[in-house]
Symmetry: C2
Amino acid sequence: MPGSEKSVAPKFRRRADDRPDEVLDAALELFADQGFANTKVEQIAKRAGLSKGTVYLYFPSKQAIIEALVRRAVTPVAERALAHAGAFAGDPRNGISAALRQLAHGLADVRILAIPKLVVREAALVPELAQMYRHEVLDRVLPAIEMLIQRGIDAGYFRQVDANLTLRSLIGPILVHLMLADVFDISPPEGLSFDRLIENHLTILFDGLSAPEQVGAP
Amino acid sequence: MPGSEKSVAPKFRRRADDRPDEVLDAALELFADQGFANTKVEQIAKRAGLSKGTVYLYFPSKQAIIEALVRRAVTPVAERALAHAGAFAGDPRNGISAALRQLAHGLADVRILAIPKLVVREAALVPELAQMYRHEVLDRVLPAIEMLIQRGIDAGYFRQVDANLTLRSLIGPILVHLMLADVFDISPPEGLSFDRLIENHLTILFDGLSAPEQVGAP
DNA sequence: TGCAAATAACTGACCGGTCAGTTATTAATA
DNA sequence: TATTAATAACTGACCGGTCAGTTATTTGCA
């Protein structure tokens, strides 16, 4: 019989400091697979175990929810990424490999990937999202990687390429890999493995696609 | 005085075989910068010089518009792309370079780029879009490029890489380049030039990032 | 301790605006 | 005049946001 135990489920959870987070968690899942416009506030409320009105106790508007969502996810990213990037001395290939692997590893986590996906999808409608993501994530992470490349060039490890453009050659494949799989359901025959992608990519990146001199080219 | 000329602007344009196309043109522009959900049918109508009701003479629903839109844009792509890709014999580097340049050139055109952007944004909501785009474009273009790579490997021009994964290394940078510029307004200091990106990328792709043996590495 | 009074957390019915889709009517053409 | 193209007015569902009221929890006081 339900209710026969004592203190089964507290109806109210007082001093709800963590209510906002619960709302954001619920909203993230819904936004992620329905988009912002198609998610009703009442859905968010229900999934968070609340009523619609209560949501408005914590957030002034629906848009405020998505903004808070991104802000929460995005702020801690910066520190972590930067800390790692700076740590590598010597051959910058190691640093770049590590950075790439870490990036791929992070984005393999659905909960993390959901945020940039959301930002990209809703950027045109809510420019604040793109701005925030750029400021908090991209403007910190990208220059860090670019500096790694530049350092490699200056130290004579790399050829004289444009570091900023090379950055794109570096991270691009991860993006396509994700987009093909996620949006179009296209994976490599052997399955979607980031590790294999990264290793293959690093091979090409550092040593090129062309065969070493001896083999077969005329 | 407006209206003083004779037959200035015909109020009605009868027997409009090209009306559907005009509606699609209008819808594309609006969808592209407001998204599907935020575009009202009446906006589309107004931009096409029509009234809302007339739109429903040609399309049964709003969703039918976006589907027709993508279908129209997507169908002719296949032939063109395939024709070019098959044409290259000899060193497959030429074929790949050409394919990449052509791809980049095409996507530099805003009218063309608008379609995949739209598809990606609305894919979750209207899976038919993603399906159609995949079937008509990706499933034809990607294998063609992959075959180019595989041919290069078999003929001994390229090292023994995974062609399917390498495909991603190949086209990835174009995607990031576009996304950074378009969504986040991040361009290289010297300006968004696809040509420079492609040349830089091809350098790395074929010959690698690492410096040739002599220069500086210990 | 027991018992109000006070307040914090929460609810759900409701309002107003919006918008996809429909229909009654008018204009053009043959 | 008959037919078709086009319109403008209309409808009804839907949804973000509000608010008067309810329920749980805490506080003050005896």
